[in-house]
């Protein structure tokens, strides 16, 4: 690891101020992506600004039809929260399937969302449930947040404070996990709220995306059969030694069908 300065922020305002002041600072949340990256010398920040001790950046609240998860809430807390299980059980399933218990004891929703790994689970949840990302500057709709491979709408120095999820009538999340890493080769979150349906896909493309054709079909009939014939074009999908684009395209339909089945089970 290259050397860096370590700074512990006491508040979001202090973290935002520090990140502007230092040369090439990085926010440190759960460290489950950032520290392995530093260990491999794939990044060389001048300073790490740790959010770990900011008191009001953790916690889950259910208020009416909105579930709010603050940025430093860990995957473990989301997976085991009574409020999440009651309001959006599929989101508890998603968080409980991230990595392993030791990773879930440290990794956070804010870090995962900001990192925008193409194979991460949360982006499917955020897009498939139509969440809103609250930052220290503004609110960003899910559809505008993930802009590309490891790219988001966040400005330099902009911090995620919380993610707000509208509570759907039904939702289901299923991933086809990469056997070694556990990340999603393809993961799909499907949700239904009144007559509105959202299908959010992670793992298959450079960043999470929706499938409007499936959403339209599911709005008419919320059953796996309704989308069995819908093929996703492989043209813009990822392709690597583990799964080619054609295979990932196939998985989009299969995982979406299973997610619908989970939602109505």
């Amino acid at each position: 690891m290259y050397s860096f300065e370590y700074r512990r922020a006491q508040s979001v305002a202090e973290a935002a101020k520090l990140i502007k002041e230092v040369d090439d600072g990085k926010i440190l949340a759960g460290g489950m992506t950032l520290i392995p990256t530093l260990k491999q010398r794939l990044a060389q920040p001048s300073d790490l600004i740790d959010l770990g001790k900011i008191p009001d950046l953790k916690g889950i609240t259910l208020s009416g039809k909105t579930l709010t998860i603050k940025a430093m809430t860990r995957h473990f807390d989301v997976a085991t929260s009574a409020d999440v299980k009651k309001a959006i059980p599929a989101l508890a399933v998603l968080a409980g399937g991230i990595g392993d218990p030791s990773v879930r004891h440290r990794g956070t929703i804010g870090g995962s969302t900001a990192n925008a790994d193409p194979a991460a689970d949360y982006p499917a949840g955020i897009v498939g449930l139509g969440a809103t990302i609250e930052t220290n500057q503004r609110k960003i709709a899910a559809d505008d947040f993930f802009t590309g491979l490891f790219e988001t709408a966040l400005e330099p120095g902009e911090l995620i404070i919380a993610v707000h999820f509208p509570v759907p009538d039904k939702a289901g999340y299923i991933k086809f996990a990469h056997l070694a890493s556990g990340y999603a080769t393809c993961g799909v979150m499907v949700s239904k709220t009144g007559t509105a349906v959202r299908v959010g896909v992670t793992g298959a493309g450079p960043s999470a995306f929706r499938v409007p054709e499936m959403e339209a079909a599911l709005a008419k009939s919320f059953t796996p059969d309704a989308i069995a014939h819908i093929k996703y074009p492989p043209d813009d999908l990822l392709s690597d030694m583990h799964a080619g684009a054609e295979y990932r395209a196939h998985l989009v339909t299969v995982m979406a069908k299973r997610a619908v089945a989970a939602a109505i089970a």
């Binding site: 690891m1 860096f4 370590y6 520290i35 260990k39 770990g52 218990p101 030791s102 440290r106």
Partner: protein
């Protein structure tokens, strides 16, 4: 350099570390507690697991400075001072949960964490929960049996003995 202090296996320890020092380096190199192992550099093998404020975490994926003020228990902290093994350690011995022993400290720390969080967990759950602990020797069968027996022993105080064939 940064001054840090934390409780490790019940004792308050302190040290001067570079910010880039990992908790596992602090434990092994500064404190000389070499029971905690490092088996990879990708945060995937689980050999480095310790209990951090009561929960299993990978000590190779947290900076020592982040752990300032925390409570850490390493594999050395499980047995009683007189050497009596923790029930989970006894179970690993009884059920052949180890061969070379490299993965074992991390396995045992995670096993205790599983037993505390999910007492009475079935075999499938135990296998899922051990996802982040890689063993290159045993084929996992003995480990899974050990975790289930050790978990029972932690609840009842009695370790079910393995049937010997």
């Amino acid at each position: 350099m940064a001054k840090i202090s934390m409780k490790v296996n019940g004792k308050t320890v302190s040290g001067d570390v570079e910010p880039r020092t990992l908790l596992v380096q602090f434990i092994r190199e500064h404190l000389g507690l070499t029971g905690t192992h490092v088996g990879c550099d990708t945060s995937q093998c689980g050999a480095c697991n310790v209990h951090y404020n009561g929960e299993a975490i990978k000590s190779c994926t947290i900076l020592a400075v982040q752990a300032d003020g925390s409570e850490v228990v390493t594999i050395e902290g499980l047995a009683k001072p007189d050497g009596t093994l923790h029930p989970m350690q006894a179970a690993f011995r009884e059920y052949h949960g180890l061969q070379c022993g490299y993965c074992t400290p991390g396995m045992v720390m995670v096993a205790v964490d599983i037993a505390r969080r999910l007492p009475g967990a079935d075999e499938e759950t135990v296998r899922e929960e051990l996802y982040g602990n890689i063993c290159r020797c045993t084929g996992y069968q003995g480990i899974v049996e050990a975790v289930m027996a050790g978990s029972e022993a932690m609840q009842t105080g009695v370790l079910p003995l393995k049937e010997h064939h």
